[in-house]
Point group: C2
Chain length 208, copies 2
């Protein structure tokens, strides 16, 4: 199922067995964080929880930060492949991503941890991952907004880059408010207010 | 230097000298976090940096979490009193708060740390503070949005609570993107896109 020949992270030493094992570890860690949250997860405590020796874990991930980044990256890659149908709408995409995350609050927490770590100098790996992720998300959403502008759905004087940053920020911030207070906060309802300014292509939308 | 008799936070034993000393400590800590960031700040490391003994610090703050919460609360109270002029506009308020924070990135980082800690069970004090802060901010902004609806500036079918959560989320998320990538991200520019949906009272605005 996962006998691909390349491995993310350390391209140089990735043999099929190693890649498979690394992938299994990441999947166990996704399960672990999904259930239990992250807090001060160390390589050692994660290894204990998923039944992998510290030495084995060190073989695949050089640091706690690298493990956390790879867990999130893998989770996001897995979720994303399910939802190519949502392509087209900038806001709709974020609403769907947020809805997927509802079922796994531990991963919203992991994401918040990565983002906070990224602000701190000591976490260079995390910083690079989070910054690059924001950059590519902004580019992807800005392209959708531009296409909405060409189609005449979105006001031409909205800056696509500024609007893309806004949509991502709103989605991130709403998920945190929702985790803390699921009663009054509804990520999808709040985000959909942005669809008044940034409507998706109705023909493209996965949500009727 | 530390012959204080009480501490706020514990209202019961708050005598003037203790209150003053506690306030001095908080102001030193605001300065410290503003310059240097928070990361794994412990009571001990903060005490060392601001020249207060660990024992004295423990007298005023029962834990690291309580210190971080009180530092942020004090910072916010100090900033807020400067800007009553901005009252009236939901989005304008958040734009101004974000602009104040630009000068002190360490406090944006402290805020991100509090928010992330709040998601984790072990941090009950932080969780309560952050949840309550979000609740009261949402109420305040929702009231402004309702008043904009009564005045006919804001569409009546926008839910004020959902929109309030959206504005706060956008502001929080944009500050993080900006800290990581100050070139392409401009908090005020992105947030002002929301003013198309939620314009403030032009007569009230502090920003011409």
């Amino acid at each position: 199922m996962t006998e691909q020949a390349g491995g993310a992270g350390h391209e140089r030493r990735s043999y099929p067995k190693g890649v498979r094992r690394r992938r299994q570890i990441l999947e166990s860690a996704i399960g672990l964080f999904g259930q239990r949250g992250v807090d001060r997860a160390s390589l050692r405590s994660v290894g204990e929880a998923i039944g992998v020796s510290h030495t084995a874990l060190r073989h695949y991930f050089s640091s706690r930060d690298e493990l956390l980044v790879e867990v999130y990256r893998t989770h996001e890659a897995l979720s994303f492949s399910d939802t190519q149908a949502a392509a087209g709408a900038a806001v709709g995409e974020m609403v769907e991503a947020a809805e997927r995350n509802r079922s796994i609050p531990g991963l919203v927490e992991l994401y918040a941890t990565l983002t906070t770590d990224a602000l701190q100098e000591e976490h260079a790996v995390t910083r690079e991952f989070v910054r690059d992720r924001f950059r590519s998300l902004r580019e992807m959403l800005a392209a959708r907004i531009e296409s909405g502008q060409r189609a005449g759905r979105i006001a031409p004087d909205i800056d696509p880059g500024d609007a893309a940053a806004l949509v991502i920020a709103a989605s991130d911030g709403l998920q945190i408010q929702w985790l803390l207070d699921p009663g009054p906060v509804d990520v999808g309802r709040s985000l959909s207010i942005l669809e008044r300014l940034l409507p998706g292509d109705p023909g493209f939308s996965a949500r009727a």
